[in-house]
Symmetry: C2
Subunit: 230 residues, 2 copies
Amino acid sequence: MAGKKVLIVYAHQEPKSMNGSLKNVAVDVFQKQGCSVDISDLYSMNFIAAATRNDITGELCNPQHFRYGAETMEAFKKGVLCEEIIKEQKKVQEADLVIFQFPLYWFSFPAIMKGWIDRVFVQGFAFDFPSIYYNGLLKEKLAILSFTTGGTEEMFSKNGVSGDIRYLLWPMQHGIMHFCGFKVLAPQISYAPEYTGDKERKDMLLSWAKRLETIWEEQPIECTPPWYFQ
Amino acid sequence: MAGKKVLIVYAHQEPKSMNGSLKNVAVDVFQKQGCSVDISDLYSMNFIAAATRNDITGELCNPQHFRYGAETMEAFKKGVLCEEIIKEQKKVQEADLVIFQFPLYWFSFPAIMKGWIDRVFVQGFAFDFPSIYYNGLLKEKLAILSFTTGGTEEMFSKNGVSGDIRYLLWPMQHGIMHFCGFKVLAPQISYAPEYTGDKERKDMLLSWAKRLETIWEEQPIECTPPWYFQ
């Protein structure tokens, strides 16, 4: 595991938050393992979330009718994506493992992290046709979603008001990570840290640290429907 | 139906796109009905997607430890949210029907639209505890997701590579719209307009126009798990 490279894509406004602590714990464990860790701290970077024509620095293929997907695919091939995107793609390219560390906003990523995905996972870089799912272009890499929730574990159970947490994992794990070929490891879910005690929050951090110690031995989870919707 | 108010939250960079045309069709139909239509054209507005402390114009409750949800809830009560959010909340408040018009990006909203949701649906405005789901604060309103896809209808079928489209509707329709109390009408899905002919694209626009003529008579769909995951 020494020598492995980890990228943490991190989206929280407050360094002292649970998400900040989970990120710091991961940095510590990986550094002790002799891994290198890169961090994309999206709020600190003022990362742009919106997908616009500014993402292409060269001339557009069709300035009369702007198509974001088609234009960014061509710009990737020609090397004329904007600097911000190229930099993030390099980090992904070098990583063996990408961890997404975020608070769940509305059953999904916060917009700033969704924007990172919308803009960085360009066709030609992260996927192509027919290179999707098991043939996705990032298939040599691992991905983990590590997130905190507002609701409790009970609320996110099969008979809870918010339904089985696996339902909302589907678009993120299957539709994005698996689509690009990532081998997806089990999500790390820290339930409702705001509504729990110091002891429980400490335990969440400890269990993340403990898991990361043997993370390189973990097997990917199954991302296809039966796992989710039984 | 005359006198009803419609808000279209619209996220596409190109006015000549299918999404632009679907938006225009809706404006036409509703104006003929004597309804008023308001549009939030997110790219044209340069709408900010990231949820930051700039969303609160007054003093923070806890500047030492920033919590976006708690701070925006307080700021809403005190009327010190930023102008951009207050304006959007007023549009929602006045609307009988909110239509989200967007291209599906990675099994979900484009980041700019997710940012609109993250920032506008503040606690105290769109929901509160225990005012969620059937008691959500926007329960007198209707919502529709109208979107285009990259993949075909077959890809988004139960045995297709991308799975039943209803799986990815879950976080958006249940986790967001239903959570806030909206009565959700059936989604309007325009499959793969980029890969089809002019005739088919025209038919998509016509079918949307036709549906909207009797939209006020429609019954909401069931948003809870059995509908999705059978």
